[in-house]
């Protein structure tokens, strides 16, 4: 693997220097010089130099030497919580179906749970050509070692070329373990999945540097090619009552796989039962709300509109609302029909969690707040005054 600067093409403009996260590039005698000890081959400099194309990376062929043609079909892990299929799994099935069609492969849904045969079989209607339901009395809730072993064993036996899962707390916990065990290439938290039909490669695009940079990742020489997919970014699969497929019911006896960790207690912490990732309307508050008491006006507005309450990281860090309400890079990704951002400045990290909302309203008394760059309707004013007045106006208009 090597990287070089074409000295004829380089004009010493320094764009590459400024793009390099590792501070690996210096201008020496008006030409860019790359310190190989610092370079991690991320390619940000190549992107920065797209005008002159002076920088190139040559890749050695990697070791590996496995017979890729043995790996067939797309498999997806379908997550269930308390007997209900998690929303992200329908999105993963939707993407899996597209990839399967593009590559001419079958789509297999792998479900781990107990006593949900009907729901598992339903997945055929959502695009799976085959459903493998691993059914066992101790499989109804997530267990690290058990799920990891079942999925790793499945991969080793069935050799899917691509394996997908949702990037939930569960997925992001055990899928990296599986990838480490089977030596698969895992790309975390993808916001876009595409396929190179000619090379039969999965292209996973994902945010890095807190969302400031996007990277497209490939896994050319190892299998399976793995990806976890962020919830609420891709379209869910639609039900097609006419679809037929194969249903494989595997009974896993209790205690078959030893589990090292033990769950002692499960505690739910949300202000209401409305899960913000499923809400069509979200009223969200940030530091501009000034005090925790002021969040009540957001709850009141949310109630009139029939929505849920969200929060920026600043509000959660200040202890005003539980973490389950946090929207953003390190919180939840939401895509409601309407997102009302009150007293939220709109950092890149917050935007990463809500920018795909259908309609964004921002209320902030700083006209230069970043949130206005992505708001469909920007209201320059104090949320503390506007929000209660808006709640009253809507109540009157709706006769509530």
């Amino acid at each position: 693997m090597s990287i070089r600067v074409d000295l004829e093409k380089c004009i010493g403009c320094k764009l590459c220097v400024r793009a390099c996260a590792q501070n690996a590039i210096e201008i020496i005698e008006k030409k860019a010089t790359i310190d190989l000890a610092k370079c991690n081959f991320c390619g940000a400099c190549i992107e920065a130099c797209k005008k002159y194309q002076a920088i190139t990376i040559t890749k050695d062929s990697a070791a590996g030497g496995i017979d890729l043609s043995v790996y067939r079909n797309i498999a997806v892990f379908v997550e269930q919580r308390e007997g209900a299929i998690h929303g992200v799994s329908f999105e993963v099935l939707g993407e899996g179906r597209k990839l399967a069609d593009a590559l001419g492969e079958k789509l297999v849904a792998v479900v781990i749970g107990h006593a949900i045969k009907d729901k598992a079989e339903e997945l055929i209607k959502y695009g799976a050509d085959r459903v493998v339901f691993m059914d066992g009395p101790d499989l109804s809730s997530f267990r690290d070692d058990t799920y990891a072993t079942l999925v790793a064993d499945y991969i080793n036996a069935e050799k899917p070329t691509i394996f997908l899962a949702g990037a939930t707390a569960v997925g992001r916990s055990f899928i990296p373990k599986v990838a480490a065990r089977v030596y698969g290439g895992l790309t975390a938290d993808c916001t876009k999945l595409e396929v190179d039909k000619e090379k039969r490669l999965l292209l996973g695009t994902r945010p890095a540097f807190g969302g400031n940079l996007m990277a497209t990742i490939i896994c050319p020489h190892h299998r399976p090619q793995m990806a976890t997919v962020r919830h609420k970014v891709m379209k869910p699969a639609q039900r097609d009552a006419g679809r037929a497929g194969e249903f494989v019911h595997q009974l896993i006896e209790a205690g078959k796989i030893s589990e090292r960790t033990k769950i002692i207690k499960v505690v739910k912490e949300a202000e209401s039962t409305v899960n913000i990732t499923e809400a069509d309307i979200i009223v969200s508050g940030g530091r501009g709300m000034q005090k925790p008491e002021n969040f009540q006006m957001l709850r009141d507005l949310a109630q009139v509109m029939g929505g849920a309450v969200g929060a920026s990281r600043a509000a959660v860090d200040s202890g005003w609302v539980p973490y389950s309400h946090q929207v953003g890079q390190t919180g939840k990704t939401v895509c409601p029909k309407v997102y009302v951002a009150c007293g939220i400045s709109g950092s890149v990290q917050h935007q990463a969690g809500m920018s795909s909302s259908d309609y964004i309203i921002a209320i902030n008394n700083n006209p230069d707040a970043d949130i206005f760059q992505i708001a469909n309707l920007g209201i320059v004013g104090s949320a503390l005054e506007v929000v209660p007045a808006l709640t009253q106006a809507l109540k009157a208009a709706l006769g509530r």
Partner: protein, 262 residues
């Protein structure tokens, strides 16, 4: 209790901005820092040591300047620091990094607990902690926001989930990855900084890892970056100011027109 903390040196991204003309990342004057999540890991390790005794060893894999990050950790109270560094290890993805780190950890002797930060703020993958645990054959719990109890045999923690948390018990040796809710990292004391300045930090090269050359660096990495690009930013719509009455009227009309309220 022998505790090992894995850390990474990353660019301080809070200053990252996009150049509006060229659309590229601007990194002027951005210094390298200890990955913020790793600071929480170091702090938790030092607190456990202060409570029940033991040693805290910090290990990192990176270019030579990553040594600065290790010294920051020592200044916070870690006892020893180790740097895995070698040109042959350049270009590693998360699989290869987990492999290199786990081999380095094996050279540090017996351990009871490994603590990692949830994720690095440049890569954002959160894969190395679980990867290291898997390759060392030890159990792990991710997203720990509180250590309730720790003894020689086991640890009991609160694991953060999307809608709340779970209390989980894990036998040791084991690994946990921590989130920022777990503690507030201390500011290094003068005494700590002076110790950190003088302490020798051994370097582990590829040769000392007893590792398979086909499984390290770019060569051993199953994933590669095809390309990087700056994301397209959504552009805003209309922006209005006025009296509260005017603003509320505009909002009410717009919201009702959207027809989303049931």
């Amino acid at each position: 209790m022998n505790i090992i903390v894995c850390i990474k040196q990353v660019p301080g991204t809070t200053q990252v901005k996009i150049n509006p003309e060229t659309g590229t990342l601007i990194r002027d004057g951005v210094e390298a820092v200890v990955n913020p999540f790793d600071e929480y890991a170091i702090e938790e390790a030092v607190r456990i040591k202060e409570r029940i005794g033991g040693t805290v060893k910090v290990i990192s894999k990176g270019p030579p300047q990553a040594e600065i990050a290790l010294r920051s950790a020592i200044a916070m109270g870690a006892d020893e620091g180790y740097l895995i560094t070698d040109r042959a290890l350049a270009g590693s993805d998360t699989w290869a990094t987990s492999y290199e780190l786990s081999h380095g950890i094996k050279k540090l002797g017996a351990f009871d607990l490994i603590i990692c930060g949830k994720q690095a703020i440049d890569g954002d993958t959160a894969q190395v902690g679980p990867g290291v645990a898997e390759m060392l054959g030890i159990p792990f719990v991710a997203w720990v926001r509180k250590v309730e109890e720790v003894s020689a045999m086991s640890i009991r923690v609160e694991r953060m989930m999307e809608e709340g948390y779970e209390v989980v018990e894990m036998p040791l040796p084991g690994l946990i990855t921590v989130v920022k809710e777990i503690n507030t990292p201390r500011v290094a004391s003068l005494k700590g900084k002076m110790r950190a300045k003088k302490l020798e930090i051994p370097q582990l090269t590829f040769a000392s890892l007893d590792a398979d050359p086909n499984r390290v660096g770019l060569k051993g990495s199953p994933t590669q970056v095809l390309r990087s690009f700056v994301p397209q930013r959504k552009t805003g719509g209309e922006k209005v100011s006025g009296t509260t009455e005017e603003l509320v009227e505009k909002l009410k009309t717009t919201i009702l027109e959207l027809g989303v309220i049931k």
